[in-house]
Symmetry: C2
Subunit: 665 residues, 2 copies
C-alpha cells in the first residue's frame, strides 16, 4: 500500500501555478508581440493556509540573457500576479513563472500583527533570528554578515521588541531579504514563448493604390495609357505626405486574357480593358513576372527603392491562383483540378462561376506547389519586398501557410504577411496562429458604438496574443453602407477610429476623395478600379478643400508623436451616457515609453454621422494614471480643457465628430 502511494507522482507543484499568460493554445504557438510592445506576463499562483508567497517572471531574451522580475499581486481574491514589460529585441523570448514561500513577508506580517496585539513579542524576535539564519545559510559572505547584524539587533535585550523590529526595518532588512531571497518551496510553471517581430509588423499605416492608375492617361479614343512604376514614383510624395508607412500594391503580374472581366465585373472585356490584376498569368509570365505595362523588374526595384527613401515599404500581393493563360497551366497542370471531362476546374461557388480564375489544388502536389511558391516569394524578397498581403488565404490549406511563413521567416524574419481572410472567426484566428503577422478584420462592419466597444475590446484583449488586427477603412472590395450613406462625416469618423484604435490601419486610394458610390446592389465602388484605370485628381481636390488627405496626415502625425497609439493591448473602453458616443483610451506609462514619458490619449467619437450629440462621458481613472483633475489638449483643434472622472462633451458630426485628447502631464 505504501509502495503504491509512492508510485503516484503529482501534476500540481508545491505551490500551484496555473493560467500563465501570454500563452496561446497551452503553448502550442508562441504569443505574438512586436518590437517595443508592452506585454503583460502573469499567472494565477497561490498556496494553502495563510503564509505568503512571492512570484517571479524568469524571462530569457532571444539572445539568451535571462532576467528575473518580481510580479505584482492583482486584486484580492484573484490570486493573480503580473508585470508589464516592453520587449525591445526581435526573436523568440522564453518565459516561466516561479513561485516560492515568502518566509520573510510571512514573518514581517505576523510580527506586525502580534507586536500590535501585544502577543508573542519576544518569541517573534527569536523567530526572526532563526529566519535570518536560514537566509544567511545560502548567502555569500558579505550578505551573511549583514543578516548577522540584523539578527543581533533582534536579540538585543536592551531594546523592546517593538524598538528592535523598527530598527531592523529602518536599517533596510526588508530590501536585503528581497534581494537575497530564500526561495524555499520554489515551484516553476512550464516554459512558454513569445515571438517578438519587428516594429512594422505591429505598428504601421497602410495605403493601397493600383500602380497602373498612378499616372494613367485617357486617350481621346477612350483607350488608356497605363500608369507604370516610373509614373507611380511621382505618387509617392502624396502617400508620404499623408504619413503612410506601407504602400500595398495589388498584383503587379501579367494579367490573363481568357474570360477577362470588363468594367463593373462584366463577363466580356473590351479590347482596351486591362482586366483584374488578380487574374494572374499570361503568355508574358506568372507570379514571378512584372506586367509589361508596369515596366521591367528593374523599374519595379527602382520604385521600391524610391519608396524606401521616403520611409515607405512596399507590400506586394500574394494571390495563389491563376488565369487560364498562366504558364503553370501548361508546365504544371497537376497543380490544378482536372474535371471529369478533362477540363481544368475554374473557381466557382455553385451556381456562381469565375471562369477567369483557376484555383490551385494544394493536395495534388503539395511539395511541388510549396517549393514553387517559396521560390516566388523569395524572388520578390530578393528585390526588396518585405511585406506580402495574402489574398484569400482562407481558401488554401492553413498548414500550407504555416509552413510557408515559417520557411520564409527562418531566413528572413523581417518578412511580414497580412492575411486577407474575411471569413468565420475560427479560420481567421487559426491563420494568425499559423504565423500571419497581421490580419484584416471585421472593423468595416462594426459601426455602432456598442459594436465598436465590444470589437475593440476583443481585438485588443481577447485575441491579441494570436491575431494582430489591421483596421482597414475601405478596400477595392469593400465600400460599406456606412460610407455609402454617411456622407463626409462618415469618412472622418471611420478614419479617426481606425487610426486611433489600433496601431495598424489601412486605406485604399479614393477614400480621401470621399468616393462613396457603389455598384448598385453591391458593397463595392462603382466602376471598380479592379477592372479599369482610374485617374483621380488628388491635387485638385486638395486645392478645393474637398479632400480628407489633411485629416489623414494629421491622424498619422498624431500616431507618430504619441507612443500610446503605437500599442495594441493598451486600449480601454470607457463609459458614455450616449448611445453613439464611443470613448476609449490608449495609455503607456513612463517606464515603458521609449522616451521615458507617460503618454495618454483619450479618443471620443460620435459614431453617428447624421447628428450632433451632447453627453457626459465617464473615465476609469485607474486605467489612466492621473489625479482626479487633469488638463487635456485636443490634438485636432489644439483646444485645452480641464477634465476629471466625468466630462461633458458635444460632438457635431457635420463639423468635427471626434476629440483626440492628450492628457497633459
Amino acid at each position: 500500500m505504501g509502495k503504491l502511494g509512492k508510485m503516484v507522482s503529482t501534476k500540481i507543484g508545491r505551490i500551484p501555478i496555473s493560467k500563465v499568460w501570454p500563452v496561446v493554445d497551452a503553448g502550442k504557438f508562441p504569443a505574438k508581440a512586436f518590437e517595443s510592445e508592452v506585454i503583460e506576463f502573469g499567472a494565477v499562483a497561490f498556496r494553502e493556509g495563510h503564509d505568503r508567497i512571492a512570484t517571479e517572471l524568469i524571462l530569457t531574451s532571444p539572445k539568451g540573457k535571462t532576467t528575473v522580475y518580481p510580479l505584482n499581486p492583482g486584486h484580492y481574491g484573484t490570486d493573480t500576479w503580473s508585470i508589464k514589460l516592453p520587449l525591445r529585441e526581435i526573436g523568440i523570448w522564453t518565459f516561466q513563472i516561479s513561485a516560492w514561500d515568502d518566509a520573510f513577508a510571512t514573518w514581517k506580517h505576523n510580527t506586525e500583527v502580534k507586536l500590535a496585539a501585544g502577543v508573542d513579542q519576544e518569541l517573534m524576535m527569536q523567530e526572526g533570528v532563526r529566519l535570518l539564519e536560514r537566509f544567511a545559510a545560502g548567502a555569500e559572505k558579505k550578505i551573511q554578515t549583514q543578516f548577522a547584524k540584523y539578527g543581533a539587533v533582534l536579540s538585543d535585550n536592551s531594546l523592546t521588541p517593538n524598538e528592535r523590529f523598527k530598527k531592523v526595518l529602518g536599517d533596510g532588512l526588508e530590501l536585503v531579504a528581497i534581494e537575497n531571497p530564500l526561495r524555499e518551496l520554489e515551484t516553476r510553471s512550464e516554459q512558454y514563448q513569445v515571438l517578438c517581430e519587428r516594429a512594422l509588423a505591429g505598428n504601421a499605416a497602410w495605403y493601397e493604390f493600383f500602380p497602373r492608375s498612378e499616372g494613367a492617361k485617357k486617350n481621346p479614343d477612350g483607350s488608356w495609357v497605363s500608369g507604370n512604376f516610373k509614373t507611380a514614383i511621382d505618387s509617392l510624395d502624396r502617400v508620404s505626405e499623408m504619413g503612410f508607412d506601407v504602400l500595398y500594391l495589388p498584383p503587379v503580374h501579367p494579367i490573363g486574357k481568357s474570360h477577362r472581366k470588363g468594367p463593373n465585373n462584366s463577363l466580356n472585356a473590351g479590347p482596351h480593358d486591362p482586366g483584374s490584376p488578380w487574374a494572374i498569368g499570361s503568355i508574358d509570365g506568372g507570379h514571378d513576372t512584372i506586367h509589361p505595362d508596369l515596366g521591367s523588374e528593374k523599374d519595379f526595384a527602382n520604385f521600391v527603392k524610391a519608396a524606401n527613401k521616403k520611409g515607405i515599404e512596399v507590400a506586394m500581393d500574394l494571390a495563389l491562383q491563376a488565369s487560364p493563360d498562366h504558364p503553370w497551366v501548361k508546365t504544371n497542370p497537376q497543380w490544378f483540378t482536372t474535371r471529369a471531362d478533362g477540363s481544368i476546374a475554374y473557381a466557382e461557388n455553385p451556381p456562381k462561376k469565375y471562369q477567369d480564375i483557376y484555383p490551385i489544388n494544394f493536395d495534388n502536389d503539395p511539395e511541388g506547389i510549396f517549393q514553387e511558391v517559396l521560390r516566388v516569394v523569395n524572388k520578390w524578397v530578393g528585390l526588396g519586398v518585405k511585406i506580402f498581403r495574402v489574398d484569400n488565404p482562407h481558401t488554401k490549406p492553413v498548414a500550407f501557410w504555416e509552413r510557408l511563413i515559417a520557411a520564409v521567416n527562418q531566413i528572413n524574419p523581417e518578412v511580414i504577411f497580412l492575411a486577407e481572410a474575411f471569413t468565420r472567426p475560427a479560420m481567421m484566428h487559426t491563420l494568425g496562429k499559423a504565423g500571419f503577422q497581421q490580419s484584416y478584420t471585421y472593423f468595416t462592419w462594426r459601426n455602432t458604438k456598442d459594436e465598436l466597444a465590444a470589437y475593440l475590446h476583443e481585438v485588443s484583449q481577447d485575441s491579441a496574443n494570436f491575431f494582430r488586427p489591421n483596421f482597414w477603412v475601405n478596400t477595392p472590395d469593400i465600400l460599406t453602407e456606412f460610407l455609402q450613406f454617411g456622407g463626409k462625416p462618415a469618412f472622418k469618423i471611420r478614419a479617426t477610429l481606425a487610426a486611433m484604435a489600433t496601431p495598424l490601419w489601412g486605406m485604399y486610394a479614393g477614400f480621401e476623395l470621399y468616393e462613396s458610390v457603389a455598384r448598385p446592389g453591391s458593397e463595392e465602388n462603382i466602376d471598380n478600379e479592379k477592372y479599369e484605370y482610374k485617374a483621380r485628381d488628388f491635387a485638385g481636390a486638395l486645392k478645393q478643400n474637398a479632400s480628407l488627405a489633411p485629416r489623414i496626415a494629421l491622424l498619422n502625425k498624431i500616431r507618430k508623436e504619441n507612443y500610446a497609439l503605437q500599442q495594441l493591448r493598451n486600449l480601454r473602453v470607457h463609459y458614455s451616457d450616449d448611445q453613439s458616443i464611443l470613448v476609449f483610451s490608449k495609455h503607456i506609462s513612463a517606464n515603458h515609453a521609449p522616451d521615458g514619458k507617460a503618454n495618454t490619449i483619450l479618443v471620443v467619437v460620435n459614431c453617428d454621422p447624421h447628428s450632433a450629440r451632447e453627453t457626459t462621458i465617464h473615465l476609469r481613472l485607474d486605467e489612466l494614471d492621473v489625479p482626479a483633475s487633469f488638463k487635456v489638449k485636443d490634438l485636432i483643434t489644439g483646444n485645452s480643457y480641464n477634465w476629471g472622472e466625468h466630462n461633458f462633451v458635444r460632438l457635431d458630426a457635420f463639423t468635427e465628430p471626434a476629440h483626440i485628447m492628450r492628457i497633459e502631464r
Copy 2:
C-alpha cells in the same frame, strides 16, 4: 532554400481542429464525469474554401472498446461540432476528434445546386462516377458492387441527369457513402481523457449529524449521557425517510482535553463539556481510533452496515490536525512546527489563537505524513467507509491531496472525497483538478435571483469539467443571514433550490426544524453542536407540523423519480420579468435517459422569502425539446397547467415559494 522549407513541420493539421472539449488545462487533468452523466464531446473544426468536412468522435471506454460517433454541426459560423453521450462505465475514457474531407457531401451539394441551375449537369454525373470509383477502391467486395451499381445509374444516358441523381439518392447512395466513408485528408486531434466515477460521486443527497447527539440524554444535574453508534442506529430511519443517500459524521475520534473549547466557542470548557470533534486526539488515540463515548470499532462497523442496509452510505470526516493530546505529538513531533521557544505551534490567524489545535507541517516530513494519512484512510475504508468529507483541505498542500486521492483511488476507485474548502476560486478549482470528487461551494451566499442565475450557470457549465458542486443549505459553521432572518419560507426556498439545481446537495441536522438563531455577531447557530450535545425532538416537530422533513422527503423523492435532476450539466437558466423569480430547467433526452424517456423539470422559485410575487416567465423552448404548447404538472401540488413560451406565475413565499413542473409527454 528548398531544403530549409522542407525542414519546417507544421503544428496545424490538414484540417484544423482546435478547442476540443471536455478538456481541462489542455489535457493535464482528465475531465470529470460520473456514471450515467451525459457529457458533450466536441471541437472547432473547419477547412479552407467551400468543400464540406465531416467530423467524428473516437471514444474508447475504460475496458478498451472503441466506438466512432459522427458529430453534429453547431450554429453556422461557429465551426463547432459536437455530440452528447451518457457514459455508463466507470474508469478512464479516452477520446479524440477526427475530421476529414466529406467528398460525398460536397459532390451532393454541388450537384443539387448545379442541376437546379441547369449548369454542368452531365459533368456532375461524370464527377459522381469518378467519386464512387474512389469510394469503391478502398471498400470491401460487397460494397464495391453497390457503388458500381450506383455508378451505372449515374452513367445511364437513357435518364436525364436529374432522374439519375434522384434515383441513386432514392436507392440509398447517401447511406452507403456515409457508412463507408472515404475519410480523405483525415486529421485527428490529440487524445484526451474523461474520468467517469461512480454514480454517488455525482448524484447524492447528503445529511449530516453528530452521532453523539443521536440518543443523547440530559441528566438532572445538567450533565449528559452521550449518544453513540448503538443509539444512533435508531436515527437512521429518520434519515432514510427523508430520502438521503449519504450520512456524514463529524470526526468520531477521541477529543483532546488541552484547551478544550466550551459552549459557544468559549475558551474554558466545563468538566462535562464534550469538546469539539475537530480537536482530534487524546490519550485514547488519534485519527485511527473511535471516541470511547461513541463505542467500539465494532459498534462503528455495525452502524455503517445498518446504514448501508437502508441504502445510506456513511461519510467520515478527514480533518488533518491534532489536539495537543494527540498521540502524534509524542510519537512524531516532527509533523508539527516547533517554535523558537521549543513549543509546538498551535493554529493561529494572528492575532487570533486556536490553542486547542496543532496544525500539521507537511513540509517537515512529507513522506512520513503521507504514509500515515494513507494508512488511516485505508483503515476506515477497510471498515466500510467509502466517502470522506475533508476538513479545510485548502490549509494543506494541494499536491498532498493529489497524491493521496490518487493513491487511495488506485486501489479503491469507489472512494469519494468531498472538499470543504470555503476560500478563493483558484484554490477551490485546483482542489477539484487535484482529484476531489466533490466540493462545497459558495451556494450558501448566493441568495438573490441574479446571483443564483450566474452561479448556477457557472457551476453547471463553466467549471463542471473539474469542479463538482455539492450545494449545502447549512452546516455547523454556516447559518446565513438569509436563514437567520428569512423565516420558514427561507428554509423552503433554499432546500428547493439546492435539491433541484444540482444532483449533489446537503443538509445539516436542525435545518428541518428551522433552527435559525445565531450566536450574536456570528454566522453560526447559537449553542453550537460543535461544543455540546443536542437532543432534538424531530418526531414531536413532525407531529406538530413544525418540521420541514416532509418537504425534504418530497424533494428527494422528486430527485429519484426524475433522471433530469440526476445530471449536473443540463441546467439552463430561463428568463423571468421579476427580479426575484428565478427559472431554470433540467432536461434529459429520451436517448440519454436510462428508461428511454425524455424527462424535463422546470423549477420556478420566488427567491424573496418576504413576498408574494406575480410575473411572466419566458422559456427557451429550444432547450426543452417541446412543441409550442405543452402540459406541465406541478410535482409539489399535483396541479396541471398548459404552458408555452411565456407563462404567468404567482408564487407566495408564505404558502409555497416554488413550482417544480414536470413537462408531461
